[in-house]
Symmetry: C2
Subunit: 450 residues, 2 copies
């Protein structure tokens, strides 16, 4: 069961908006889930999106703001005054409010913060803004339920009813000591099924997974996925409970990270979608293409220096695309496996061991392919055995080098704190093209002698 | 805070196992999280893994079984009798038990099912096995809490205490009618904060997101991510509540799908990791390399038929790797964006509109790159303008074709129910190499005349 946007609905809305029939627009959208309204707004033009936004009430519009594509959200925010934005943010959880404020230009940011009505809320949001947006601190929300370790079940339930007003989803109730340090957790189920006079020190689970404020977002995601958690408490340097990250935010982190790695491997440098404008897509795609073109130029230059081969062994030039292609494919395979391993934190052992393993793997595969090549080039293309042999030896060498490069570079980038996914895609294919052609012609020169 | 496997710990365990010091092994591992024990078992040899497994008690080992890599799990299961496996499965939720049984060979499957002690549990598991493993039915568990719409809060809480014994995580309590049809949901928070005599018909939320048993897993993931859900009820064709899918299983679905798409784009055909054996990695990588080699052969054959060019315009052959590389890069970019759009269900509009947009985009980018090429080829390589012009025109044509192919093929595969991600990676790069070289030489022949 899912709402599906239809052309008819969008058209109907556009007509109503044009005729300024505000009541009818409201009527059409009032029962819709905020995620669906956001989808609809993304299909309307700027005027239509702002119109719809202004028609709906604050509780829903705040959630809608969160669901919108960044582009559309920025346009809506531009159309609102600082006071209006602050009103929206008063409805949101601290982590979501902080995310939205962070997108505003500096001046507007300060205006909005000053207009927030709930002072406690404002203090919490300002706190959260200090953290790096990709860290646990940047992902966490201040909304959580915590109880003191010295209370009993009855007091906890009373306290929970009071605190839970502001907390959208309660998974665990965190137990802290007098200093605010995290000691353990209680599940709602336990609270409901234990008699009320019991001191919670007899009931709560002292073992609780947590992360520190500076833990990286993808690391938090990994921990939550590994231990099947739905929420994880965040502590500061003193072990005090300062926030909580819920699984829905982590699902977004996982998705965004996967999308980013996928796009980098394809040579797309920013977060674009198929429906973005041609200009947006060009900005994301062209830089890598220029890189690839420049790299290919180097390969062409190298090939041209071996012009002597042209006279005696022109057939050597027929095979250049094959050598380049195989080098590219092997390099992409190796780097993809390494980048995935780094992302899943499943790489173990030293770099040397890994390179040796890759050497053996590529030697095995390379020899197999070289034999296929020898047979194919003799019977299908009709080259003599010497040339076939030359291409085959080059193929093995090039495959081994491509595999080693594809393994070494991502691991090394990662050691220096650079995103290893940058070393996938056109970067790898182009470098391997260059090295491949250099090696190929050098070997050919040695064997065939030109 | 996370447990990190150290070489020392593994070594210590290996020694204890060798000296058959069962008590000490138990003592070392008894307080560890099952996910961490699973990681340790993956580092030990087969004997060690089975030894550790037999040392721990049934409640933990069941969860460990779930966390293990498929390979290690299969080995453990082989070492257990049908009765022993059934004992483990009695401890697990129905969806997890069904997943494990599904991995067993047919005969052992039937033996295990017959040995299950809890008959209700067995019936539920057998039910679940009927569903396709990638559908909502295959992902769901039977464990959930449901109440009748005619009850009051007090009865619900009593009922919940009884049912919740078997339910690990309770998010919402589902409300059904006398026929078992899903009517709505109650949150635990509402139950805790409402007075007990209230009939729940006044309290429960009648609007509830759900999926049908045959909804595809990735679609369920998309819905849960879109609406920020942590659990979603599953209904059958009659609208009756038959199961529930929790967010932790969906996180795994999202991760697996992302990993699969990433690997296919790199030309890796099965689920391998960097630490798998050379044989495993070869099985996953070699097939695509053979495909790429075969395709490259076709490209070489095409290039060789234009041998006439060798005498008059040998420089044409220098540029073949450049043309092939650019065709490959553009094709990969286009297909990646389309595959991501299909996965996120964010593609709208007709195929024709999309192809026209891609045509304009690639024309724009292609012309820009062609100009760079003209300048570069004249000043850096030193070719005359006619040849430079030929290569430039070919580049634009090849880029446009590559973009169109990269857009058309994934969308068409998807329409026929084939995974569009198969059309990324070596498949696209190799086809584009072939078309690119064919177009390049054809254009060159027409313009330069050989």
């Amino acid at each position: 069961m899912e709402f599906k946007i239809s052309r008819e609905l969008i058209h109907e809305l556009e007509v109503l908006i044009q005729e300024n029939k505000e009541q009818e627009v409201f009527h059409l959208l009032k029962d819709m889930h905020y995620a669906d309204v956001a989808e609809i707004m993304e299909e309307l033009d700027d005027y239509g999106a702002i119109y719809v936004f202004n028609t709906l009430d604050s509780e829903k519009t705040a959630e809608i703001l969160l669901e919108l594509d960044e582009e559309v959200r920025i346009k809506i925010l531009k159309s609102l005054s600082a006071k209006e934005i602050a009103d929206e943010l008063d409805e949101l959880d601290t982590d979501d409010a902080a995310d939205i404020i962070a997108e505003l230009p500096q001046e507007k940011k300060e205006q909005v913060i000053s207009e927030l009505e709930d002072v406690e809320h404002a203090k919490d949001i300002v706190d959260l803004l200090r953290y790096d947006e990709d860290s646990a601190g940047g992902l966490m929300a201040k909304e959580l339920v915590k109880v003191n370790e010295n209370w009993n079940v009855l007091t906890c339930v009373k306290e929970m009813r009071a605190q839970a007003e502001n907390v959208t989803r309660v998974h665990s109730i965190y137990v802290v000591d007098d200093e605010g340090r995290l000691k353990g957790r209680l599940s709602l189920k336990d609270l409901l099924t234990t008699s009320t006079k019991t001191p919670i020190s007899e009931v709560y689970i002292p073992k609780v997974d947590y992360v520190k404020v500076d833990t990286e977002g993808v690391e938090v995601a990994r921990i939550m996925q590994k231990y099947d958690l739905e929420a994880i408490p965040v502590v500061d340097e003193l072990g005090r409970l300062v926030g909580r990250i819920t699984i829905d935010d982590i699902v977004d982190v996982i998705k965004e990270e996967a999308d980013k790695d996928y796009q980098l491997a394809a040579g797309i440098s920013q977060d674009v979608e198929a429906d973005d404008s041609i200009l947006e897509l060009t900005k994301a795609r062209l830089p890598w293409l220029v890189l690839a073109l420049s790299g290919s130029f180097i390969a062409v230059k190298i090939a041209s220096t071996f012009q002597g081969a042209m006279n005696d062994f022109p057939v050597v030039f027929f095979f250049t695309p094959l050598i380049a292609a195989m080098a590219g494919n092997v390099g992409v395979q190796s780097s993809a496996i390494i980048v995935q391993g780094l992302a899943n934190n499943s790489l173990s052992g030293s770099l040397w061991k890994r390179l040796i393993k890759e050497l053996l793997l590529s030697l095995l595969n390379g020899l197999f392919l070289a034999v296929l090549l020898l047979i194919g080039s003799h019977f299908i293309i009709g080259v003599d055995y010497l040339v076939g042999f030359t291409v085959a030896i080059s193929l093995v060498s090039v495959i081994i080098l491509a595999a080693l490069i594809g393994t070494f570079i991502p691991i090394t980038l990662n050691r220096f704190g650079i995103d290893p996914a940058l070393a996938t895609g056109p970067f790898i294919t182009t470098s391997n093209d260059i090295f491949g052609i250099l090696i190929y012609f050098s070997i050919a020169k040695i064997i065939l002698g030109f």
